[in-house]
Subunit: 202 residues, 2 copies
């Protein structure tokens, strides 16, 4: 992406980026802490109207992991979600550290948050959320539980493993108890995968 600059011929700032019908005339990163940026764009629409767009950027894409064991249980993560001020049923996940692949981050996050080792990572989807105002991307993995140990969450991170039959988790999505959108979408998708596999087996 080109930065804003002035042309050699005059004092008209050069557009820095075209976003759909919006020409970005100027961009300011207004806030940048803990992996979340607030960005303010001064824009011009295709019919020449000037305006502003404010949006949130998560520069690092995240992972979300759904471990299943051979007995048909899913391993979810009960955690305190600060922005919604609730103790919610979520899934293990987070963002990769420097030079870490998404797969390595997935393995590390389930180990740290749930205390389990998984293998057979299988990427099932990529989700985005609140797409008009937020740029946030999450890579979703299905995994097989190898061994169950003890969780070692990062300081200040409240997490607790919740193991339950997969169909019970699906019912919690259906009745709205699990209502974080990417977690809900992933559990529906996993149900679709498991149903298809059952059909092949029978």
């Amino acid at each position: 992406m080109a930065t804003t600059g002035r042309s050699e011929e005059g004092d008209h700032p050069q557009p820095m980026e075209q976003r759909g019908e919006f020409t970005v005339l100027e961009r300011k990163v207004m806030h940048d802490r803990f992996g979340m940026q607030l960005i303010g764009d001064r824009i011009m629409t295709s019919d020449g109207q000037e305006g502003e767009q404010f949006w949130i950027n998560f520069p690092r894409q995240a992972v979300l992991v759904f471990p299943l064991d051979r007995e048909g249980n899913i391993y979810l993560n009960r955690e305190y979600t600060y922005a919604t001020a609730e103790c919610k049923l979520e899934a293990a996940g987070g963002t990769p550290e420097a030079d870490e692949t998404f797969e390595a981050a997935a393995l590390r996050e389930v180990r740290e948050e749930l205390g389990i080792e998984v293998d057979e990572l299988r990427k099932i989807n990529i989700y985005q959320s609140i797409t008009s105002r937020v740029n946030n991307t999450t890579h979703v993995y299905l995994a097989r539980v190898a061994t169950v140990g003890e969780a070692t969450p990062a300081t200040g991170e409240y997490t607790r493993l919740e193991k339950m039959p997969f169909l019970e988790a699906l019912e919690l999505v259906r009745n709205g108890v699990i209502n974080t959108a990417d977690v809900a979408a992933a559990i529906w998708h996993i149900n679709d995968i498991l149903s298809a596999e059952e059909k092949v087996e029978t």
Copy 2:
């Protein structure tokens, strides 16, 4: 929620809110434009460590509407999503205007964005997204298409109706073309509802 204040006995500020194990010592609304706030909290953990939390608040809860017609088609919304800089398959929706109910907003948004009149609104779920960093709530409705007219989107809002057989939309969720998390979760949920209704009918 109480505001931060000073006790009568001394100069220790009173905590303004308890969020899980976090005591909020001070809160600043750092940005507040177009229905989106950046909030900075100075916090103390239960073991006495001071720190900060930055989170995004969408004070108005939103609606998302999925109209179906009697021929089994779903009416989605192709729109330019500024933050992700894409022309994505989403659903009609938005936030209620002052004194507007969620149901009234749902009817208005499908009329404005898709140019259709719906009835038989049925609330199927409430979703949240990026719950640790963002407070955003969306009420999801299934609706029946009554009449198809002409869209009247708000200025600067690029939207276009995309009508397709429901099972085609489900396939686009399955293969990741539709990947906005609440839209994907809702389409899976609608599939579950339609499948259950089919079973009852046969």
